[in-house]
Symmetry: C2
Subunit: 296 residues, 2 copies
């Protein structure tokens, strides 16, 4: 283990809304945060963001090219669901050893270390994972267009769709739908144009409005939050979660679902042990120590 002490360790926690970086070197921890890195919807852009983040921290830490070439990096990136995509990102980095995975392992490690429990990782996208005796099973995370239920992008899109139902008289309008419509100049055609071109993170920008409105009792906001909470429960149960087992709500959106869960689940909610970036850093440490296999 002594040998690994002078190896610079890099961790990346990449999501649709923001991308966080940590570098451990010479006993110091450097951190940075940049914009979203959605590998699934815009891989080239995501790679640029990741390279910028890593080279920025390396400069701050006084690491030159040769220093980075000795480093070990673990990247937990939302949306990396194919080996090809992971290899493409890994291949673009000037770091010695690299492992690129989706953000499930880092979220699970952040939530429970190596302990048991079920975690719903709900940010711009979403997934649910369960750790049981060291083995992880997971579901969801299929991306904005077919899945990512309960996510920020999903909440934002449903809120806009709900505005159109309110116009149509299919549901009653509320302060939430009124204010969202007003943002488009009360022009639903502008909302349609926005939706045609918007990326997941752009839909996700409306999610905090849904969360706040629901907390203030807005009927439409509560319907949407309840629908997201129902999905989390369906997913947790499909993975085998049972009352009494820890349930962690992670990510920027996850914790807000707590009050919409049934009592047996709300009572089981635990705070994560650390951030997802901490989880990625722990995995980078395992990679440096040889407990995980790098991709190159």
């Amino acid at each position: 283990m002594a040998q690994t002490d002078d190896i610079p360790i890099v961790a990346v926690d990449g999501g649709g809304t923001s991308c966080r970086f940590a570098l451990l070197h010479a006993g110091r921890r450097h951190e940075a945060k940049l914009g979203g890195a959605n590998v699934m919807t815009d891989c080239d852009r995501a790679i640029r963001t990741i390279r910028d983040g890593i080279s920025g921290l390396a400069a701050e830490a006084g690491l030159g090219e040769t220093g980075l070439a000795r480093a070990v990096a673990y990247l937990g990136l939302a949306g990396v669901r194919s080996e090809d995509l992971a290899r493409r990102v890994a291949g673009a980095l000037a770091v010695g050893k690299v492992l690129v995975e989706d953000d499930r392992p880092s979220t699970v490690v952040a939530a429970f270390g190596s302990g048991d429990g079920t975690v719903a990782g709900i940010g711009t996208g979403s997934f649910v994972a369960r750790q049981r005796e060291g083995a992880i099973s997971a579901l969801g995370g299929w991306g904005f267009h077919l899945g990512d239920e309960a996510s920020g992008a999903w909440l934002g899109r449903l809120a806009l769709a709900r505005c159109l139902h309110a116009i149509d008289g299919i549901c009653a309008p509320s302060p939430l739908t009124d204010s969202l419509l007003a943002e488009f100049g009360d022009r639903p055609d502008r909302m349609m144009e926005f939706a045609r071109d918007a990326r997941p993170a752009e839909f996700g920008r409306f999610a905090p409005r849904v969360i706040e409105a629901a907390a203030a009792g807005d009927a439409n906001g509560r319907v949407l939050m309840q629908r997201g909470a129902d999905y989390i429960m369906d997913a947790a149960r499909a993975l085998g979660w049972q009352p009494g087992e820890a349930l962690c709500l992670a990510g920027g959106i996850g914790p807000h679902y707590r009050e919409y869960l049934p009592a047996e689940a709300a009572g089981a909610v635990t705070a994560p042990r650390g951030s997802t970036l901490d989880g990625a850093l722990e995995l980078a440490g395992r990679l440096a120590a040889g407990a995980l296999e790098p991709m190159r």
Copy 2:
């Protein structure tokens, strides 16, 4: 009225999957059918299709440029929900008088002439409209990204999402989800990539599979058809439809929902008097006769 008899009359019925054309000239009716014309998702391409269709029919009818310049055209195009978009299409046509609207008026006229009733126009996209004493009220038709519930594109996308739920154990798999997954080589990541880039008509290509599977008793197919039928009922009721009033299921997908409607609605279902192209032709005749105002 005698004066209008030698004016060539053009009608266009444009949807996401196909675009149909009719031209009445010198006592003959010419017809043509081309691929989809989705003005909302790809306006330039839609305009090219529409120009090709009209010039093809004009050539067949022996109409030169001067002949077309005397013609009157009515276009009912799915997705034309803004004045700007309609004017852009109208401005691109070398026809004397033009009126471009969405496909609601032509669908209502096709269903009921000037009589009373509620019509669900369900093709690649969807809307619901009600005619009452000559006045039309309508809802839906907000496009693939935020609406078009019950449409072919909506059914196709939900069917793919259902496959991912089956993989996740959130619902049970069925012949429908098995066969759709097999089409992507049992590689859900390929399905995700398809969904990221697919246009509405590409999702809509899976709709006939959902309809057939549901008719054969497939549990997942039936859930999706029921959800679409529930939307149609919510929409019809929001417009004021009541048992006893005619309910017309139009478009390529519409008629298939009949058996999923509650008895009071299924019993009220009537066949449309003519096709949507016939409806557009009737509106083109009204335009030629001066009963409708052209855009230019």
